[in-house]
Symmetry: C2
Subunit: 330 residues, 2 copies
């Protein structure tokens, strides 16, 4: 029996699965942040090791040395080469002797939603990226360039727009919004009626102190507030602009001759109203395949592992892998 | 003879002047970054000390102990109180016994352009702020909230938009722009025709590495590139949006009953085409006073010093101060 490891190493957390050649997930494990580019090679290797050890623990009957391949899905390309030499000592410690190979995280995300070889993927969480998949490989990627250079419509972008709208409200330049008390509360800023010597509310000064006192990326944590009050005009406008940007991102990679499913992942893109708006827009402009929602790239890492081992992943194998993975997640 | 010190302590550099009660500038000096909020109290005090020592060196006949007041114009309000106790040891070392008093940098900028007690100020350099001045005091401030929370139309904002436009061009999502070679050159990125495994130009990856490898604020240094090619549609659109935002910022503080000059400062707002566009827009909407361009808040720090000493700064005294300061600058 063929045994493989599929790993989905992300900037927030890492997941690994042990699977067999017929698409049965034997066990899954979790670890911390596993991206060697953003987190450093040693912490990433440790997080991935934790996840792999967790997956192996479900199947003590499987000899780690009998695993024939390791597929590592992650963003940011290959540090030190496509076989991840920085992960070798960690795998050796676990008794895993198989070679590893890095694959694009976006491809794993896409393959978590479908076994079709062609289609489109959209991930909008903290960042936003779209991908065109052709013949089971990434054909084109758009955006995913991070909070400073791109990612319009992402969680960071929404949180940033929210914070700016609240600052404009408190500064008297922008319209009143129910986001203001929500954002001040989320950032631990006490609202006050006090006015400072520049004729402005003291709450504004406290907001400035709180925002510049933390990493800019913390603004992404404000994004869910945009969905809290559907009657608020400021929130509604920000969400509508995000929806339009994410639809545009899918259309940036779409070509008429390539049809196939649209796989959607990430905390923003999977918000029901965002997903519906994006799907409505792209359908009207020719992207008409079925829509699949995914939580992460774990199933897809398994799908890619199977394919790299020469196994054709058909509907039956895909369904088995998706269902056995779901049951292991509990 | 009354002797006073006026200091304009900024986030980029610091200027100080020694002046007499009739508005004669006896000497000016310069120092480094002098904002205790952003630069720390000790470096700021040292920079201010350097500037004051430079100003005093022009007039060895003036006893530092005979100086009766120190006016310190700076952003960010009063650390440790309006009399800047953190500056006391530095002044003592220079033999200056006079009390100091912090004043808003925007007020000094305004008073550098006019002796009128009422009017409006607009500063757009790295950041952007507008101010309404009434009776020689700040009546209302708008924006100046920094690169994350505000400052639309500022040098940071323009540089950031430029970088995003170049990223979108290289990513195939946005229109081609002559900004691309200019920005890559400015950031030390070598253009290449090489394509990476995601189907994107390798130049994009190098841009990402360069931008995220430095402080976000470095993007402000790209702003001048927006004015280089007036035939480039992408540049033109970014500059036009900045102009509209800066005009809106003036209108945010404007009220019909307060007339007076508009004083304009900062590297963006004093660009001829930006100034003309802003002035054209605000004139059409009721802000019709004369427009004065200033380089910094040094003359204004002197004006405020005179006023706090009980001297009425009329046109004669103002002109003398502006002219003697200009001749000291050389």
């Amino acid at each position: 029996m063929l045994h493989l490891l599929g790993i989905d190493a992300g900037g927030t957390s890492t997941r690994a699965m042990l699977l067999t050649g017929d698409g049965t997930c034997l066990g899954i494990g979790r670890g911390g942040r596993g991206n060697p580019v953003s987190d450093g090679v040693e912490p990433a290797a440790a997080a991935i090791g934790t996840a792999v050890a967790g997956a192996l623990s479900f199947a003590p009957e499987v000899q780690p040395a009998a695993i024939t391949a390791v597929t590592l899905a992650m963003a940011g390309g290959s540090i030190g080469g496509p076989d991840a030499p920085w992960l070798r000592p960690t795998l050796d410690d676990l008794g895993v002797r198989a070679p590893s190979r890095i694959e694009p995280d976006l491809l794993a995300m896409f393959a978590s939603g479908t076994h079709e070889p062609d289609g489109y993927g959209l991930v909008a969480g903290t960042g936003s990226t779209a991908v065109r998949v052709r013949g089971g490989e990434v054909d084109l990627t758009a955006d995913g360039l991070g909070w400073l250079l791109g990612d319009k419509g992402s969680g960071f972008w929404i949180g940033h727009q929210i914070a700016r709208a609240v600052a404009a409200h408190l500064d008297g330049r922008g319209p009143a919004t129910s986001l203001t008390p929500a954002v001040l509360l989320a950032l631990g800023v006490t609202e006050t009626a006090e006015i400072d010597r520049n004729g402005r509310t003291a709450s504004l000064g406290h907001l400035v102190t709180a925002v510049y006192g933390a990493s800019p990326l913390r603004l992404a944590s404000l994004a869910p507030l945009a969905f809290a009050d559907t009657a608020d005009a400021v929130s509604t406008e920000i969400v509508a602009e995000a929806e339009a940007a994410l639809a545009e991102l899918v259309l940036d990679v779409a070509v008429p001759e390539l049809t196939g499913p649209l796989v959607v992942g990430g905390g923003v893109a999977t918000q029901p109203r965002v997903r519906e708006a994006v799907v409505g827009t792209v359908r009207a402009r020719g992207v008409t395949g079925p829509v699949h929602r995914v939580d992460d790239g774990l199933v897809g890492a398994g799908v890619i592992a199977l394919r790299r081992a020469g196994i054709l992943v058909d509907a039956e194998i895909f369904t088995r892998l998706a269902e056995t993975t779901a049951s292991r997640r509990g």
